[in-house]
Symmetry: C2
Subunit: 207 residues, 2 copies
DNA sequence: TCTCAAAATGAATGGCAATTCATTCAATGA
DNA sequence: TCATTGAATGAATTGCCATTCATTTTGAGA
């Protein structure tokens, strides 16, 4: 087995164990067992327990950002982009439950310790959203008075809370695509009666 | 000093210390010091460290729910209610930074352990939102196809993420009321151009 | 002032688990 | 087959800290 493989094996085992017990309640010995490796071996690949947590974040989030950016590049319309972002975010959570749980719960826990580092990666993720908003504003599709800095957090927060519920409760009342469509619609159209899509309905006389 | 006072004193000290270090990195001895009390005294008022965390949640969230419900009772219009909810939520976070941090980060951390209990209190909080939505739907102010179960999470999530940013970064680029108005507007009106309040604009021919 | 029960104290205990490191294993090539 | 070296092992070490409890302090009533 190559070195990279063992590194990966320990990382995957850690994601599983951290998701199961939480970081502080996880034992190195349990990770070792899960990875079929001796306790000491872990220290050949990572400096300490905390280092594993950082590695999870660093290595896994990078992949996700890359994938989302790539998929969004194929779409032109900003409204569509936002909807697709929601779908991708929720799909990725569903496909990687354990990772999602670690990122949501554990990394958040230690945010204050890894502030600098974490912020950079996380900010990059959030900025995908604000970039879309700005593009929409330039194209006059989104209102000019929207503050992208608030929007990105609100949008991310809405998706994040939805997926947190799934991750923690283990059950989904609504499908991923239903939730994604619904949430993006809240933001795009609002929830008030009568105003769903005026860019088209404005062509219709409603007297 | 009355017994209730000391209980309270220890609780307040714990909120401070947990917010500062995180639950797992907080020492009973540090809480004791912060509360001007001996280590052992804490065990006269709480069964163990974890018990303190639960008490914080139980006792403090109850107050908050009561206060919000009371303030909302004075408002009739559902749209206004939603906006006020956002403002209250963010104000409460601002007024109780340490508590907010503990609830956001630490309690979330241990959600899986206190699932049953926590869910009941937390669900009650979320349901304030879905109740408003249902009221709005009955009054034909909100679209009938909105799913309140998704909306409540999305709305809460948006506010929560905004306040998490404040709590962790320690600085606010936008004022509380700006953020509250902006976020409630996203959900009420959407972000698209032309559709802010079509209940009026639909009377206008825009061809 | 004295008594006594309740409250408070904080040093000592005990258990736990991250990390270390002396030892063993495995693979390579001579 | 043997020697060498890097990888892997897991038992032992070490330090930490929640919790306990024997002792002291406090304060209310007599």
């Amino acid at each position: 087995m190559k070195i990279a493989d063992k590194h990966q094996k320990i990382l995957q085992a850690s994601i599983k164990v951290f998701a199961r017990n939480g970081f502080f309640n996880s034992r190195i010995s349990e990770i070792a067992k899960e990875a079929n490796v001796a306790d000491g071996t872990i220290y050949l690949y990572f400096n300490n327990k905390y280092d594993i947590l950082i590695a999870i974040f660093e290595e896994e989030i990078g992949k996700i950002i890359a994938r989302i950016k790539q998929e969004l590049a194929e779409i032109k319309n900003p409204a569509e982009k936002l909807e697709r972002f929601a779908l991708l975010h929720l799909q990725l959570v569903e496909e990687n439950r354990d990772l999602a749980e670690v990122i949501q719960v554990e990394i958040r826990q230690s945010t204050k310790f890894m502030k600098d580092y974490r912020n950079r990666k996380f900010a990059e993720y959030l900025n995908i959203i604000s970039q879309i908003v700005r593009q929409g504003q330039e194209e006059k599709i989104f209102r000019a008075d929207i503050l992208p800095g608030i929007f990105k957090r609100a949008y991310f927060g809405a998706l994040d809370e939805m997926s947190r519920f799934w991750v923690l409760s283990g059950k989904k009342k609504y499908s991923v695509s239903t939730a994604a469509k619904e949430i993006s619609a809240f933001f795009l159209q609002g929830i008030r009666v009568q105003g769903p899509d005026t860019s088209h309905s404005s062509m219709t006389v409603e007297t």
